[in-house]
């Protein structure tokens, strides 16, 4: 609701913050979250996006499944600092998301210039998402302590 009512109005050029994407990345990066929890949260996010956005649902589903599995794999294999991973994955997945959707719009016949898309949409969106990445990670971290209190005590 914050995304819909407030953050969708905050723009740098044509770039917008994507709180839902940041939320999924931040939640997936938390140490104590298992794959089931991540998938549940992602499913809720996809459902919410399906309700509010005109973006094709197939792109959303593919993107979020990719995010889940890439982050889960990296978390179990080489991740050392989650906050650095938050930055890296925010930049990568914002770019992938917008590039795929931009390409899809080109295929549907909408005239767009690639360099214009990159300058006015993708780069500003990456910037604004990177700015919001740390607060979102910290919020998810706090939520994790709240959701898994016993695990922490042990």
């Amino acid at each position: 609701m914050l995304q819909l009512g407030i953050f969708s109005y905050l723009q740098i050029l044509a770039g917008k913050i994507d709180l839902l994407l940041l939320g999924v990345i931040a939640w997936s990066l938390q140490k104590k979250t298992g794959i089931i929890d991540i998938l549940i949260y992602t499913t809720i996010t996809i459902f919410f996006l399906y309700l509010i956005s005109a973006e094709p649902i197939t792109i959303i589903i593919l993107l979020y499944i990719m995010i889940n599995f890439v982050i889960f794999w990296s978390k179990n294999n080489f991740q050392q600092l989650p906050i650095v991973s938050m930055f890296i994955f925010t930049a990568i997945f914002t770019f992938i998301h917008l590039a795929i959707f931009g390409f899809y719009l080109q295929l549907t016949g909408i005239k767009m210039i690639a360099i214009e898309i990159f300058q006015t949409v993708i780069l500003p969106s990456m910037l604004i998402n990177l700015i919001a990445a740390i607060p979102m990670y910290l919020l998810a971290n706090e939520l994790q302590h709240w959701v898994y209190p016993f695990v922490e005590e042990v």
Binding site: S8, A14, S53, L105, M112
Partner: protein
């Protein structure tokens, strides 16, 4: 003899008393009275001041507490009134907006309108959609045109029971058939990812100038005719191209939309079965 002396004594006492009274009334005894009463007055003042001090000592904390409580009550009252002022101002702004929408509805009585508030915006940076707070429960259907008191906003793209999504004419996927007001030339406008509206399909021999007013033409059956869209601001004419293009300054600030009107009794015409397919 004794009686005589008693009479003189009584007479003297009365005389002295009358004399003293007369002297007192004449003010001649004041210095003496002041001198005599000064010690008493001093004592009285001392007692009185100590009493007041003790009384204040005993009562003052209660007064401060009462004042503190009263102060909090008044501060709460001020806060309540301030919030009431804010609410009333918002209601005033809203009623002004609705009044303007009502004015538009009265100017176009052939249409039935549903007023709706804008409650959100599509999160995707590529898309220009808004969410409104009325849906199929109020009779809103896909394809219905959406306007404000100033001009065209877009059309309903998706509907749920209590809300609907509106595709703005600034969306890159939006195409609207339009006409130039002064020349009755048909053209079309397209949205873009930056939110600009571009006029296209204007024949090269048309004298297109900045300031030209753009209205919906009604062709294609998606929008009613003669709804204001905006004005031409920049014309781009190249000899090697088939048509002129131009940038439109929309009449509406789409980033500040708060309330809209959905035209309820206009149903878009689906002409796709009439269009020749590419295979034929």
């Amino acid at each position: 003899m004794k009686k005589f002396f008693n009479s003189i004594k009584s007479f003297t006492v009365v005389l002295i008393a009358v004399g003293l009274i007369l002297l007192a009334l004449g003010g001649y005894l004041s210095p003496i009275l002041v001198t005599l009463t000064r010690p008493f007055l001093g004592a009285q003042e001392w007692i009185s001041s100590r009493y007041i001090a003790v009384s204040q000592l005993l009562n003052a904390p209660q007064d401060v507490e009462e004042l503190r409580v009263r102060n909090i009550e008044l501060e709460n009252e001020v806060s309540r009134l301030q919030s009431q002022v804010i609410v009333l101002r918002e209601q005033l702004d809203e009623s002004r907006g609705l009044e303007e929408l009502l004015g538009y509805a009265r100017r176009r009585p052939e249409f039935q309108y549903i007023a709706a508030a804008v409650i959100g915006k599509d999160p995707s940076p590529f898309l220009h959609y808004i969410i409104i707070d009325h849906g199929s429960d109020e009779g809103i259907r896909r394809g219905m045109p959406v306007v404000t008191e100033s001009g065209l906003v877009g059309r309903i793209d998706a509907v749920t029971a209590g809300a609907a999504r509106v595709q703005l004419i600034t969306d890159p996927g939006s195409i609207v058939n339009v006409k130039l007001q002064s020349q009755r030339i048909n053209a079309q406008i397209n949205g873009s990812i930056t939110g600009e509206i571009n006029l296209d399909m204007v024949p090269q021999d048309t004298n297109l100038e900045s300031g030209e007013v753009i209205l919906t033409s009604g062709l294609g059956g998606n929008y009613p005719a003669d709804i204001l869209i905006g004005q031409v601001i920049t014309v781009r004419q190249f000899e090697n191209e088939l048509f002129q293009t131009a940038t439109i300054q929309p009449i509406i600030d789409y980033s500040q939309l708060q309330a809209v009107l959905v035209i309820k009794n206009f149903r878009p015409v689906d002409i796709s079965p009439l269009l020749p397919s590419s295979g034929q």
